[in-house]
Amino acid sequence: MSQETESTGNPIANPDPSVLDRLRFARQDVAAKLPPLRGQRIAYLLVSPFFVLFGLFLAFPVVYTLYLSFFEWQSVGQGNLFWIDFGPFHVTVPRIAELQFVGLSNYTRLLGDGLFWQSMFNTTYILLIQVPIMIGLALALAVALNASFVRFKGLFRTAIALPISANIVAYSTVFLLLFNEQFGFVNYLLSQVGVSPIAWLTSEFWARKTIIAAVTWRWIGYNMIILLAGLQNVPQQLYEAAEIDGAGRWEKFRYVTLPQLRPVLLFVVVLSTIGTFKLFAEPYVITGGGPTNATITIVQYIYRQAFVHWNLGYASALTVIFVALVSVISIAQIRIGGDD
């Protein structure tokens, strides 16, 4: 029979190409209409490892921190929270910690905690000086390196961006010695121009400046690269049009570059603000939070409460406030910067 049909040119066994094409389109149509059915199982397979870890190590801890902030931590958990018997095997979920409910007292406590407010003040102080200086320098560098007459751009950019690769604690340690009062390089340079040694690490005023210098050094190149990419997206015609209108260097920067760069600039400001708000390693290594707590930051204080004094519940309350502040700041910046 098959012999026969083939020889008689049965359209199914021996279809002409146009029919095959039409069939394929029909199949694609069906595939396009039914992606949920064919995709579901494989999609869950692809997604589930991520979400198991995401739920366990990200979503749960976020919720648990909030929970913990209403308790005082007693000890590592004893025994099990619950266990489920599946016949051949069972799943036990241990108690994470022994806790004592304290209501809102962690939150009322922080209101009167002088050192917490000191850490808030320090962080804000560092932030308000560091972020404008760093963004200003990064912007100036980006504009300079974007100028058409500058040669060896790649080389300069590389040199300035090099600190991006420096490990945070390692570079902080280098700065600790760089700003050493007796034999640090900075005081040596100052002595060459007749400035007497500055107590970079032991004076309240200068210790904060040391931290600011360190953070600025580490992140200037990072911000410069983002700004440089933003500058390269500014349409050249805008500059040409401005030139025809007789705009000078400053006018072109003020009326073309800045408005065009606004979203990128805003992004960089938000990123840097949050970054500096989370400052920990630099003060931990360079000043240890001193002198007399002049450089202790919020995260450092949370660390101290949690892992030096073991007030884990209280430290969780501090964390909740800290995260709320970070969110408010970034939303506010986007609001202010976004409105025209």
Binding site: G39, I42, A43, W73, A161, N167, V174, Y303, T319
Partner: protein, 278 residues
Amino acid sequence: MREQRRKDAVWMFLTYAFILTMVVVMLIPLYWMIVAATLPQQEFIEFPPRLIPGTAFLDNFAALQERMNYVLTIWNSVFIAVVYTVLSLLLCSMAGFAFAKYEFRFKEPLFYSILATLVLPIQLLVIPLFLMMSQVGWTDTFRAIILPWLANPIGIFLMRQNMRSIPDALLESARMDGASELQIFYRIALPAMRSSLAALAIILFLFQWDLFLYPLVILEDPGNYTIPVALAGLEGTQRIYYDQIMVATTLAIIPMAILFLVLQKQFVSGILAGSLKE
């Protein structure tokens, strides 16, 4: 006209002066670190400081290695960062592919739950993670350092964005040719994502490489220390050996700096990719 040309020349001079000053400022700490690492301690702390590198690097290194097993520390850091990067790349690209190319239930809420965590500072997680790890007896282990950060929100977000650019027709024709969905993922989607994967690899590696607060809390045995934790401990000892400390920081910074020089393009695209998340 002449006036204009003079102004231009002054401007050019100022621009170059500014760039060169900044370049020097950026390089001084690194240069000075190398000088300090290559001088014996007594020569290093004299005033005025020496400005030319010496030859004592290996002696200083031997002294450092005698005091603590710094080679092991470097190995720990590299091992953790590499294992983390590879595993996280795999997880993020798998999940990112699913979000880009399949329809499934709860897709939207799951994706928004990831977006919500993008803005959370990771410091938020240290206390609960420490308690969880203590409970299951995982403190002082590498898995405690690696596992919690594998499901990286930036990673999945980037992979989803980039995988959307893979044409559906390409996947469909592979299906026609009888490829299974998993084959489509690793034969077509992954190779097409090579440059995005490289950029993400840099982001992930640097994230783990710079992680400090969390390992500081989790790791106890010096034999398990990563570079940041070991360095922070070095500084805290009573008599401070600056030469040894600078050897340690040099070994932490210079190989990464060389890596940066070699893979600069990937670093830059990593930074820009990470900055696109808003």
